[in-house]
Amino acid sequence: MNYLIKQFTREWGFLLRQKYVVVLLLCSLVLSGFAIYSGLSEVSAQQQTIERLKAADQSDRANVQQKQNDAGMLAYYSFHLTYSQPSNLAFAALGERDIFPWKHRINLLALEGQIYESDAQNAELAQAGKIDFVFVISALAPLVIILLFHDLFVSERTSGRHDLLVTTAKSYFALWGARITVRFVAVIVCLMLPFFVGAFIAGASAFEVGYVSLLCIAYLAFWAVLSVWLGKNATSAPRVASSLIGLWVLFAFIIPILGDLAINKAVHAPNGGDIVLTQREAVNDAWDLPKSTTMNAFIKEYPALAPYVDMSSEFEWKWYYAFQQMGDLKAAELSQAYRDAAAKKYELAGTVSWLSPPLLLQRSLTRVASTDSVAAYNYEQQIRDYHQQLREFYYPWLFYKGDPTKTALKNMPRFESTTQTSK
């Protein structure tokens, strides 16, 4: 034990004397810190936005409910906020939240016409990508590890110290084992320390932190082992580094790009515009169709409302909302195919990611943080479910109960953001 400690203290002291190693380690610490800091501030901004939206949404609806009494008008003018709360780990993996919307306001009109609207952020910034912890670990850390480990043996060899070191060392481990361990631990600490601080601030559970740490350390160990192994018998440091960086380019860029091309060729997705167009045509045609056509189709979905479909005027709200829903129904198949294609693509991308460790890590981490496209699809499903709840709330008032009472309005279904967890 004492002997081990001695090896590590010696190598630790040795590491601190190598300026470029220290600079690299500091850079990793600063970058990881910056990623965590910006991740935390992004997540807190998202939370604050949601809180502000919640308040504004409430008062806006209260305003509408004060002005309108008619169920149809209420449903037309009332918008309902839905949102996807960032998880406790979102600060480390901002994931796809800059591309997929995480907030939406919907009313009772056809959902297919509303759900694809996106309150997206600055596209030019989204295109550049953001620095988050996942990016630092999956893309940058391998480069830091390559720079730290590729010349571990080669630099000693080219400067003629290798044989002296090996013959002097009491054991192989005392030298290389301790050296590799100390460097690896140092780089892990520099990269992970900000994450632990961030996790503490964000209130992530110990299990989540443990799981993320395990994944990250395993991933970094993979790169360290690769670097050491390739560098062990080499004689030219730049050659080792070039092959390692080549592998990194292969894993981080080439395989994902080829995978993306192949998947997009293999999976045929309906054009998003067609969904909205189908829905629009259906809704607009309904104006000119006999009312009974719409209503007959409608009561197939809601047999309980069958006794109330007769109309006394050329325009009634119940008919209006009925054909809105029929519009959704008409587009349902396309819409499902669109979502299925996206899910299929995500699934295939999962297969591709087994060929690329950085992708695999990104996927795993955004999965635990619920910031991947699966989480975005789940949120979309939550919106759909909530829209259905709203329909079921309004229909009785629209069809037979007359103007909703204020108490009834108070008990209107509310959107519950279920914080998604993958476990």
Binding site: D119, L147, V154, P256, V276, L277
Partner: protein, 482 residues
């Protein structure tokens, strides 16, 4: 530089090429580089042509189905709405920029400004977060790395094998050596850029201006020159190959991988932007003051009503020679649009300010500079998207007001008021489908090449400053070398 020196420079450059031709690493790297550039040029060109074709078709379909609508109440057509599609610019075959990140279609209807829908990224595999097979990405990010792999040892190698002092002793000055090596590297730059330039020149036939094409090619040439200079500097400063390589790899990571993201993260932190949903609350509050254009009894239109009665010198709205409901719709649409535009403008300005902050990082990283330059010149930057939003808004306003004009002039007020009485009354409250011809064909074009070139001036200056500083540094080192 004298003829003698010039020929020496050429000899050095030729010598460097001979070294590369004999080095497996250099040849592999060159082959990979050319393969990547070529395939990216081809693949992106095909993708963008398909996109452009598809969107053109969608656009004309949308226009056709609008004019094909049967006789209707004109306000129904206001809500039937119209679609506009953003067709990509000719040069976007080389840099699709934000095309996949913003919605490329927008639904236009009365009283509302919708946001663009269906960003391609949302249907994506999320595999291309780090990079995609576009010429822009390949040349901006990977080409510098390839140049480093080829050139890191150009001068440090001579020093390490001790041929440097031999060369210097033979009368080759340090500057000549560096310039010669630089010339060799620049010829590699030429090789990388050639496919880009050819592909860019093709776009001239599809209507792109020569100015834009030239700015594009010159921009990339300047950018890769920055890297050649960085490589020469590092290779002359470090006495060992490994030192030069490590330093360059580190600089590459910093400038190409880290900085663009630091720029965007800093920009969104420094200039927080409120989302559309949030500003919509303010818009709604503002609009509420204007009144509901569907409801002629809304007190907000009391004054408007009075002025109309005075204008036509009648006592009641029934006596007006025109349709009062149409007038109210038209009046409120105009006022609403003012408010909507005002907020939309605010949002775009905020977005532009954010983008501007991220572009300032071009002084710190040539990669950020070329990224902005490329997207601006090609017409796939945020400005182009804003132009799309403004043009579609104009299109929306024009057709909605066109329909309102039909509503005012061609639909009798009484028929209009009775439209829901019975089926026959509903039939009567219609206008002929001929009126739908008011819709103008929409064809989105990017800003003129002059405007784009003007916008790219700061990015050009950023690259030129990098070059100036690096040339100064190399001159200093070159003297010390001798």
């Amino acid at each position: 530089m004298s003829i003698n020196n010039l020929s020496k420079v050429v000899i050095v450059a030729k010598d460097e090429w001979r070294y590369w031709l004999r080095s497996k690493l250099a040849m592999t790297v060159l082959a990979i580089g050319l393969l990547l550039t070529l395939s990216s040029v081809v693949v992106t060109a095909i993708t963008m042509h398909e996109l452009s074709h598809a969107r053109h078709e969608l656009q004309s379909n949308a226009e056709q189905s609008f004019v094909d609508q049967p006789d209707r109440h004109p306000h129904r057509m206001v809500h039937y709405g119209h679609y506009a599609f953003r067709t990509p610019s000719p040069l976007s075959t080389l840099d699709p920029g934000i095309d996949a990140y913003t919605g490329n279609s927008i639904f236009l209807e009365g009283h509302r400004q919708n946001s663009a829908m269906f960003a391609d990224q949302r249907q994506g595999t999320a595999l291309t977060k780090l990079g995609s097979l576009t010429p822009a990405f390949i040349v901006q990010t990977l080409a510098p790395l390839l140049l480093i792999l080829i050139g890191y040892s150009s001068i440090s190698r001579e020093r390490e094998s001790q041929t440097l002092s031999y060369l210097l002793a033979q009368g080759t000055s340090g500057t000549t050596l560096i310039v010669g090596k630089g010339l060799a590297l620049l010829s590699v730059v030429g090789l990388i850029i050639a496919p880009l330039a050819v592909s860019a020149l093709f776009t001239v036939s599809t209507g792109e201006s020569l100015l834009a094409v030239t700015s594009f090619v010159v921009g990339y040439a300047l950018y890769l020159t920055v890297w050649v200079l960085l490589i020469l500097l590092a290779s002359s400063v470090f006495s060992k190959n490994s030192g030069s390589f490590t330093a360059l790899a580190f600089v590459w990571i910093l400038l190409c991988i880290v900085m663009p993201r630091v720029a965007s993260t800093s920009a969104s932190t420094a200039v927080p932007s409120t989302g559309k949903i949030e500003t919509d609350f303010a818009v709604k509050a503002e609009l509420r003051k204007l009144g509901d254009g569907h409801n002629t009894n809304d007190p907000a239109f009391k004054q408007f009503k009075q002025s109309l009665l005075e204008k036509y010198n009648v006592n009641s709205i029934d006596e007006l020679p025109v349709n009062f409901r149409g007038l109210v719709a038209s009046e409120s649409e105009a006022k609403q649009t003012d408010v909507l535009n005002q907020f939309a403008e605010q949002r775009m300005q905020a977005e532009l300010k954010q983008t501007q902050v991220s572009r300032y990082f071009g002084w710190l990283s040539p990669m950020v500079a070329i990224r902005s330059l490329s997207m601006i010149v090609v017409g796939t930057s945020i400005e182009t998207h804003h132009r799309f939003l403004r043009e579609t808004e104009q299109l929306r306003f024009d057709f909605v007001q066109g329909l309102n004009k039909v509503h005012i002039e061609k639909l009798n007020y009484q028929d209009d008021m009775n439209r829901n009485a019975n089926a026959a009354a509903t039939q009567k409250a219609r206008v002929s489908a001929d009126n739908w011809q008011i819709l103008q064909a929409f064809n989105f074009n990017v800003d003129s090449a002059n405007i784009r070139a003007q916008r790219s001036v700061p990015a050009f200056l950023q690259l030129l400053l990098w070059i100036a500083v690096l040339v100064g540094g190399i001159k200093f080192v070159g003297k010390r070398l001798s």
